[in-house]
């Protein structure tokens, strides 16, 4: 009977606390102006890539030979490219591809890299094997390896995602491993071992959450880099295959005509900068927010 009352009281405490913490969380997130700006940019770009195709009036694939490299005008707001295709439509369609590639690569590399890093830090023998493989991958310049993988896999958007993920897994794995090596020595891990906790429980429930802060920073960096490397791949003909637009291949098409059609490099360039900036700001804010120690400091 008494236990039941206590439990009910605890539920009240819990719901009050949850409400408080949610409010605090939101308030603290909005107190971090830069993170809010980052989130706004991300939301804007996501909306652009989802809703944009419904609004635009021009076909991103429709060529008009007499309208090549047209300057921005009332018909083509951002001008046209070297085949007379509407640049605004292509940037909006490209947003889906570029952001999609960036996000997918960051997500896959984070999940796989985290697993690799955690197990490498926990098992000594595995550490030597996994880290030497990572060293091998990292020894190649990212673009070179991506090109090689693309050549082997064939050009398609999915293969871009796959090969870039492989390229970036070691970057995540290294960061997670070094963070995990520190956490592994903490007394609370020893306390779990003293309880006889399974290594799965120790690795995923105790070590993993404590490696999230550096992981988030690294993941935002990879998101940004993936967009840029995808652009470079497109330029070399190993990226998202034409005629599909991506910010990268628009930018690199524009490079050839940079002196006559500045809009072809400026607008996709702005998009890449914006998305990278947005994710970096948001990532930093998220890291601060998820760290219980900074919660305390800012209260």
């Amino acid at each position: 009977m008494e236990a039941l009352e206590k439990r009910e009281e605890l539920i009240v405490i819990k719901s009050n606390l949850k409400k408080q913490q949610r409010q605090l969380f939101i308030r603290r997130f909005f107190a971090n102006k830069l993170a809010v700006v980052g989130l706004a940019i991300i939301i804007f770009l996501i909306l652009l890539s989802i809703l944009g195709p419904l609004v635009i009036s021009h076909d991103p694939y429709g060529m008009k030979v007499d309208d090549r490299l047209g300057a921005p005008s009332s018909i083509h707001l951002l001008g046209t490219d070297e085949f007379g295709r509407d640049l605004l439509s292509r940037i909006i369609y490209g947003a889906q591809v570029s952001m999609g590639v960036g996000f997918a690569v960051a997500a896959i590399a984070s999940i796989v890299g985290m697993a690799v890093g955690l197990y490498a830090s926990y098992y000594r023998v595995l550490d030597n094997v996994l880290m030497r493989i990572c060293d091998g991958i990292m020894a190649f310049p990212a673009i070179l390896l991506a090109i090689a993988l693309m050549a082997a896999l064939g050009a398609s958007t999915n293969n871009v995602i796959l090969s870039l993920s492989i390229v970036y897994i070691p970057y995540i794995a290294r960061v997670v491993r070094s963070a995990a090596l520190v956490v592994r020595e903490e007394t609370y891990i020893e306390a779990m071992k003293a309880q006889g906790a399974s290594s799965w429980r120790i690795i995923w429930l105790h070590i993993a959450p404590n490696t999230l802060s550096p992981l988030i920073v690294q993941a935002t960096f990879i998101f940004a880099n993936a967009i840029i490397v995808e652009a470079a791949l497109s330029f070399l003909g190993a990226g998202v295959p034409a005629p599909d637009p991506s910010w990268g291949n628009i930018l690199y098409d524009g490079k050839k005509v940079i002196f006559t059609a500045w809009w072809m490099v400026v607008y996709p360039g702005i998009c890449i900068v914006l998305s990278v900036l947005g994710f970096n700001l948001f990532g930093d804010g998220l890291r601060d927010l998820l760290d219980p120690h900074t919660n305390q400091a800012k209260k």
Binding site: K6, I13, T187, A191, A194, A197, Q296
Partner: protein, 337 residues
């Protein structure tokens, strides 16, 4: 030769102490190998060398000694956080060092540990309630709601409140965290708690609070403690029996009263002379040990203490002193006796 000592221990012990020990450690050894980068064996660190002692139910055994003497290693080998090199530990009639991992898992519930550093012993990303619930989950005790009840009970027992359930470790002070560490050990209802310097990271005023809490819980829950500390003035307040370790070996082992009033080993005498006395005009002869503690990689020959011993004799350099029962139930390893 050393086995003889153990035998002596066993034959004499039952006459004075009729109760059967809860944990009996015999000839425990832990040697660490130091290897050079090529993997060749360079030296062996004898962190724990032939340590034997007995823990009796409901009592507290204090293990003292300076940093690096192997007292923490002793505690850790008992939980098999470190695998021992040699020796046996009989817990409830079974040698825990010989058990398979899955067999030992059941015993872990009966043998819990409280750690020294209250700041790193709690996962900063877990709420206190979840940290305390975890041992129950690992040992498969109770359903979800029962576990929550148990957590609330234990919070109360260690002097914390229910609303602490959903807090994070950084919201607590050192003393409160140590209470949480204690709660984590006690929640699975253990028989034996290994306290590895549980108060040495705390303020003096908080130390006494935690010591009193430990004593109260010992009475309430019929606990047995292995209390590891470097501060003999703390250990004497809680222990029924004290073992003094030096450089991986047990040099003196006696009931607290006997050890404090009549320390026999020169090292114990030096340790006790360092304890401050709350009498301003009281002048006491301090025994200042000369030199540093020798490297356990290259321990002195004969008696390990002879390099710093104020009463060292010729024989100390060559012969290892056998542990003898000098006074009733008072064991010491020294050539003086």
């Amino acid at each position: 030769m050393l086995m003889q000592v153990d035998k002596k221990h066993n034959t004499i012990q039952p006459i004075i102490e009729p109760s059967k020990p809860l944990l009996e450690v015999n000839g425990l050894k832990k040697h660490f190998s130091v290897r050079n980068p090529l993997g060749r064996l360079e030296a062996t660190v004898k962190a724990v060398n032939n340590v034997s002692f007995q823990l009796h139910e409901g009592q507290t055994y204090g293990l003292v000694g300076e940093s690096g003497c192997g007292k923490s290693t002793t505690g850790r080998t008992l939980l098999r956080l470190i695998e021992p090199t040699e020796g046996e530990a009989i817990f409830q009639g079974r040698d825990i060092f010989k058990l398979r991992k899955d067999e030992f898992q059941k015993i872990r519930q009966d043998m819990q540990m409280v750690f020294q550093d209250p700041y790193s012993s709690l996962n900063p990303r877990k709420r206190i309630g979840h940290t305390l619930e975890e041992p129950l989950k690992i040992h498969g005790i109770g359903k979800k709601s029962e576990r929550v009840d148990l957590v609330m009970d234990i919070l109360e027992k260690v002097g914390l409140r229910m609303e602490h359930f959903y807090r994070y470790p950084h919201e607590f002070s050192g003393g409160q965290r140590q209470r949480i560490g204690l709660a984590r050990a006690l929640i699975v209802n253990p028989k034996l708690v290994i306290c590895d310097e549980p108060v040495s990271a705390l303020d003096v005023s908080i130390q006494s609070q935690i010591i009193n809490l430990l004593r109260r819980l010992q009475e309430e829950l019929k606990l047995t403690y292995l209390f590891i500390a470097h501060d003999i003035s703390v250990v004497r307040h809680i222990s029924d029996r004290i073992g003094v370790m030096y450089l991986g070996q047990m040099v003196e082992d006696a009931p607290t009263d006997s050890l404090i009033s009549n320390p026999l080993h020169p090292y114990t005498q030096a340790l006790l002379s360092a304890v401050p006395i709350a009498k301003p005009n009281f002048q006491r002869e301090r025994i200042i040990l000369k030199g540093e503690i020798p490297s356990p990689m290259n321990p002195p020959s004969g008696c390990i203490f002879h390099t710093r011993c104020p009463k060292a004799m010729k024989i100390c350099k060559t012969d290892f002193p056998i542990i003898k029962e000098v006074a009733p139930d008072h064991f010491v390893g020294c050539h003086l006796y």
